[in-house]
């Protein structure tokens, strides 16, 4: 379409980003082309940098540039509480409610036989190990309120059944079938207060 293979390639790469179609990819490419050189260079620099430096916290699975993330190291947080989420982005949602001062565990997915996601494919084993160390008193399941998130919650609850920890699921104030991402702050905050034990 263009007389420039580089521009063509950039558009192709941008189109791979989630939620970016042909139109938006073109708009972004033209914007970058017109923007000052520094802007494009900064973008390129940080793209490479996150790939080089960002890794998963060895404790909770959150994104970090250290071995252990700042949330896990924060002594003011209650380490007897673990909130289990599907994605690191969910941590920011829970944090934004201001209702929660415990630790996190990021699974990086949810059970889905259709897509070949099995218990070993996500960080369920690591969670069980954390609980086995004995400091944890309550596990709050905040997986997405859809069938895969619920299945994951039931599976984890079953695994931890024999331990002494209290297992709760945040109340279904969040729209069913949706994702945590779409729950507004207030509903999520209420959900944290109203969490119930899972039998």
């Amino acid at each position: 379409m263009f007389q420039s293979p580089s521009l063509e390639a950039l558009v192709q790469e941008l189109k791979k980003l989630p939620g970016v179609g042909n139109k938006s990819a073109l708009r972004m490419a033209f914007h970058l082309l017109r923007a000052p050189r520094e802007e494009a260079e900064a973008l390129a620099k940080w793209l490479v940098r996150v790939k080089e430096r960002v890794r998963l916290c060895v404790v909770c699975g959150n994104y970090t540039e250290e071995e252990t993330c700042a949330l896990c190291l924060d002594a003011r947080r209650d380490e007897s509480l673990i909130c289990v989420v599907e994605q690191p982005s969910d941590i920011y949602l829970v944090e934004s409610t201001g209702e929660y001062r415990g630790h996190y565990h990021v699974l990086h997915g949810a059970l889905s036989p259709l897509e070949g996601v099995r218990p070993e494919s996500i960080r369920i084993g690591e969670l069980v190990e954390r609980v086995a160390r004995g400091v944890v008193k309550e596990v709050i399941l905040a997986t997405n309120p859809n069938v895969e998130g619920d299945a994951t919650g039931f599976y984890i609850a079953d695994l931890l059944k024999e331990t002494d920890v209290i297992i709760s699921r945040i109340a279904r104030g969040v729209p069913v079938g949706g994702e945590l991402e779409f729950a507004d702050q207030l509903t999520l905050a209420r959900a944290f207060r109203g969490r119930r034990g899972i039998e």
Partner: protein, 366 residues
């Protein structure tokens, strides 16, 4: 609900069309093959977000077009107004709007305007496979109960996930892996079974009454047969039943019990209509079911639905057609298609006429 105006862009054979029905009855007529049904399909789509004939939205785009738009402007019985629109672009996602505002999920459009459609293929509801009867119930219930619609979507997803596990013979610990899905199958299954049972209790007398009002001499009795087993009493009970057949499911590699196996029993004077019904009896029974659905939707939505009658009058004998025309109370507005003006005029005196001409043109008055 009254549809005041309907606008189509590149939908089926219509390049650009605006009609303003507005009255209680509208007759859409013209020779076959000019797209009369497509107009009903568009009204149905606004009420349910999908076509009654295909699940493939690209098929709805006019040949040579890239995007279809369907928009309706409605008047409620209390005078309130509402606009609904649906648009689909090739390769994209279907988008819906309520009063101009885009909805995040298409499902939130369902039931804004209740619609009941009667088409010639509907004879399969009483004649065909159980799936057709479940579809009839689902179509009625989804419009009046958003929780039902959600449970139904969840059920579909749970069943697909579960059968993927049932087919995965490499999995060493399938029982444990099935557990989280079985619990959800029980929850969704119970919710759907309960909603269907409750709806059937309300529908049964309406169906029976409509059948005799349409001139059916026999008594039409309709009953619900849950696929989750006889008389489930609670979610726990359903879960027990699911767990009890787990080995069987693993052997057959499919989910053998659940609402996806539900059926309706339809009997005329104690004999199965599916096995023994005549053509005329099937036709009358289908109309009775649809009229009952109109009544139920009117009661539950607090607003009378729009009734779409596709080629119904050509198929009915004169006395049944007359009875049908006098039984349309409960419907807010009626759209009826036919090949000739006269047949529709006979049953709906004072009806507004829309004649479908060649190349997707529609002439008012005809």
């Amino acid at each position: 609900m009254i549809l005041d105006s309907l606008r189509l862009l590149d939908f089926r054979n219509f390049r650009e069309l605006e009609i303003e029905p507005g009255g209680r009855c509208a007759a859409i007529w013209g020779p076959n093959g000019r797209g009369k049904t497509n107009l009903l399909e568009a009204i149905f789509l606004l009420g349910t977000t999908r076509s009654h004939r295909t699940r493939k939205d690209p098929e709805l785009i006019r040949f040579g077009g890239d995007v279809y738009h369907v928009a309706g402007s409605y008047r409620r019985s209390n005078g309130g107004r509402m606009t609904l629109s649906v648009a689909y672009e090739k390769g994209g996602r279907k988008k819906g709007r309520v009063d101009g505002k885009e909805v995040s999920k298409m499902s939130s459009l369902v039931g804004r305007c209740g619609v009941v459609l009667v088409s010639p293929e509907d004879v399969e509801i009483t004649k065909g496979e159980p799936e057709r009867r479940r579809q009839f119930l689902d179509l009625t219930l989804c419009s009046i109960d958003p929780i039902y619609l959600r449970s139904l979507q969840e059920l579909g997803r749970i069943l697909r996930q579960r059968s993927s596990l049932l087919r995965d013979t490499w999995e060493p610990d399938r029982a444990r892996m099935l557990d989280p899905w079985d619990r959800q199958l029980a929850a969704a299954g119970w919710a759907i079974t309960e909603a269907r049972a409750r709806a059937m209790e309300e529908l049964a007398p309406l169906v029976e009454e409509a059948y005799s009002a349409l001139g059916g001499g026999e008594q039409l009795v309709i009953g619900y047969r849950p696929g989750i087993g006889r008389e489930p009493v609670s979610e726990e009970d359903v879960l027990q039943k699911i767990v009890a057949v787990r080995d069987e499911d693993l052997r057959l590699r499919r989910t053998t019990i659940g609402p996806h196996r539900d059926d309706l029993d339809l009997e005329l004077d104690g004999r199965s209509i599916r096995a023994y019904g005549s053509r005329g009896q099937h036709r009358t029974a289908v109309l009775a079911l649809k009229l009952a659905a109109v009544r139920l939707m009117a009661q539950r939505l607090g607003e009378e639905p729009i009734l779409l009658l596709d080629d119904v009058f050509t198929e009915l004998d004169a006395s049944r057609a007359e009875r049908l025309a006098t039984r349309l109370d409960g419907a807010g507005q009626v759209f009826a298609t036919g090949t000739g003006r006269a047949e529709l005029d006979r049953f709906f005196p004072g009806v507004e006429h829309f004649k479908v001409e060649e190349e997707g043109r529609v002439v008012r008055g005809g």
